[in-house]
């Protein structure tokens, strides 16, 4: 391999990117755009969910304490940021509202809510107090949020009333004591954006090289297939680093992202990921005869990276039988490594297996990419 020829390819690909303002904009603005969009949309919380509270609780009188209405305490403890509460005295009217899609849930406290609760607290009496949630589960996220909010409100109300919970769960953060959604999100989106844009861009550029005949033309010169692949790899690892820098700076400025560990390690991971991705793009280009066909390959690039890499959904949320598939998706390792570095502050001693996995991917994909170019009709 002749390094000067490799650099000639690198320079040429750079010039191609530099001369093309739209691609340049894609490379720099797309990361910012996607981070903003995802950051705002996936801010992690469900807000302003319409619910109707039907509170018919008549309360009870406790000796020495006086009149209490437990339901009021629960309602008072509902988080009004998450739940947009309207009240009603009529259960059937409220349920009709729910059925008409005007509310996500009806929270119903029966007349005996407090009295049953008091009885239940007495020893030897075996009874339970109920509140009912009629809930529209057509959106599982919303439904879960409502149930969680009500449960939390019940616990808070009970504590306010001086009731002892039999067990209290204490969570002690080991890593990332103040982790917010964006802290978790930025490392993932960094990897995803670099993976996606690099693969897409090399795919399209390379199909272009095949279609226009430039690939054949340079293959008739002393330039070898491996040198072409290496030249591209250098360009895109630099571009990947730049993108990661943009994303990171933007994450810090706009979303106040914290970085616990040594950031160079995250960049190293991104560089290797970019190399893997560009090799994947070159490989994919062998499957497309025209630019339009390249577009048909996009879902096969995006979907695994999106669904199987853990960028949004934890791998634990994937069915067990499908989980091994994520091992074949390169961003999985990059995302895991970047999160560990940036959130947990881990060093190379802890994330080396991710780095090694990525390096193996890089070696295999680079070899496959130059093999795919070496094939002749």
């Amino acid at each position: 391999m002749n390094f000067r020829r490799v650099l000639a390819v690198t320079k040429r690909v750079f010039l191609d990117l530099k001369n093309d303002k739209r691609t340049l904009a894609l490379l720099t603005l797309a990361p910012i755009f996607s981070m903003t969009l995802f950051g705002l949309a996936f801010s992690g919380e469900v807000k302003d969910v319409q619910v109707i509270v039907v509170n018919l609780d008549e309360g009870a009188t406790i000796p020495l304490i006086g009149d209490v209405v437990f339901a009021n305490a629960v309602v008072h403890n509902l988080d009004t940021e998450v739940l947009a509460i309207t009240t009603s005295a009529n259960l059937s009217v409220s349920i009709t509202e729910l059925e008409n899609g005007n509310a996500w849930a009806v929270i119903y406290f029966p007349e005996n809510y407090t009295s049953e609760a008091i009885l239940a607290a007495l020893p030897l009496i075996n009874t339970t107090s109920y509140l009912d949630i009629y809930i529209d589960t057509s959106n599982i996220n919303v439904a879960e949020s409502i149930t969680r909010e009500v449960n939390e409100a019940i616990i808070s109300a009970a504590e306010e009333n001086g009731q002892q919970m039999p067990v209290t769960v204490r969570a002690t953060p080991i890593y990332g004591s103040n982790v917010e959604f964006m802290d978790f999100f930025v490392p993932g989106i960094m990897c995803f954006v670099v993976y996606f844009l690099t693969t897409l861009l090399t795919l399209i550029t390379f199909v272009g090289e095949r279609v226009s005949g430039t690939l054949h033309r340079v293959l008739a010169t002393p330039l070898t297939e491996a040198e072409i692949v290496a030249g591209y790899a250098i360009t895109f690892s630099v571009v990947g680093t730049l993108q990661a820098t943009i994303l990171l700076s933007y994450g810090i400025l706009a979303f106040d992202v914290d970085i616990a560990g040594e950031i160079w390690l995250a960049f190293l991971v991104i560089v290797v990921l970019a190399i893997v991705s560009q090799a994947l793009g070159i490989l994919g280009s062998a499957l497309a005869k025209r630019e339009a066909q390249a577009v048909q390959l996009v879902p096969f690039i995006v979907m695994p990276g999106f669904l199987l890499s853990g960028v949004f959904w934890p791998l634990e949320a994937i069915p067990v039988w499908l989980r091994p598939a994520s091992l074949f998706v390169p961003p999985t390792y990059a995302i895991d490594a970047c999160r560990s570095v940036m959130l947990r502050g881990w060093g190379l001693d802890m994330v080396w297996h991710d780095v090694v996995a990525l390096l193996i991917f890089a070696a295999v994909f680079l070899a496959l990419a130059s093999w795919s170019l070496r094939r002749r009709q």
């Binding site: 000067r4 020829r5 005949g213 008739a220 002393p222």
Partner: protein
């Protein structure tokens, strides 16, 4: 014995069941301008691509500059101008030329010297900083030719180099090709312009992947008792049969 720049023996190229080049024996002498003529689909481009190592041959063998071809070891001594205008349209004329210079391993000074010389040949000096994308079709073709010439190759494959080039510039191209020949450079050229094929030292008529006649333009005209190469070709076709 004359030295041969290109020599194929029984060269065969198939695409599936279709034989594009059929047991071709082609001999091109050093310092010769050899014209491959023939109808669309005759296999001219395919021969060049096989010799440049872009297509695998299915049978026979080839030698270029005394070395079994195709081979990367002689790629640096060969220039190839493809039939399609294979250029980096997102780069300027100059950037394209620089790139081709550097992958042939030319030094900076050499690249500069070649660029200024070739820009004159293709008469595009004022367009040097223009993106290839913004050039006319004929201009792109001229840039493509210049890219093939950057490395001062010993063998030059020119696949229809004058398509879409205006008559005046076409004449000056042929002048330049004669120039290259006088420097001992071998040129294998394909063209559909029968009139300009006169400038070749020798011509091979190709059809269905085979050479059906070969010789100097005057020889071909005399042997077929015709006055134009076009008629000569038709005459040969008649003799050979379908």
């Amino acid at each position: 014995m004359e030295e041969l720049a290109i020599e194929t023996s029984q060269l065969t190229k198939k695409f599936g069941d279709f034989t594009a080049v059929n047991a071709l024996d082609l001999k091109v002498r050093k310092g010769e301008v050899y014209g491959l003529l023939g109808p669309n689909g005759a296999g001219k481009t395919t021969v060049i691509k096989v010799l440049c190592g872009l297509l695998k041959m299915n049978g026979g063998s080839a030698k270029m500059l005394g070395t079994p071809a195709p081979s990367k070891s002689i790629a640096g001594r060969i220039g190839y101008m493809p039939q399609e205008t294979a250029l980096y349209v997102g780069l300027t004329v100059r950037q394209n030329l620089e790139f081709f210079g550097s992958i042939f391993g030319l030094g900076k000074a050499k690249v500069e010297a070649r660029i200024s010389e070739l820009l004159k040949v293709i008469d595009l000096e004022v367009w040097a900083k223009t993106l290839v994308n913004n050039l006319s079709g004929g201009m792109k073709h001229r840039v493509s030719l210049a890219c093939a010439l950057m490395s001062e190759p010993e063998i030059l494959f020119l696949d229809e180099p004058t398509v879409g080039v205006d008559p005046e510039l076409r004449a000056s191209f042929w002048q330049y090709f004669q120039n290259l020949r006088s420097q001992g450079i071998t040129i294998l050229i394909t063209t559909h312009y029968m009139d300009e094929a006169r400038h070749c030292d020798r011509i091979g008529f190709m059809r269905n992947g085979k050479l059906i006649a070969e010789g100097s333009p005057t020889h071909l005209l005399e042997s077929t008792r015709t006055t134009s190469l076009e008629d000569a070709f038709l005459e040969v076709v008649k003799e050979v049969g379908p």
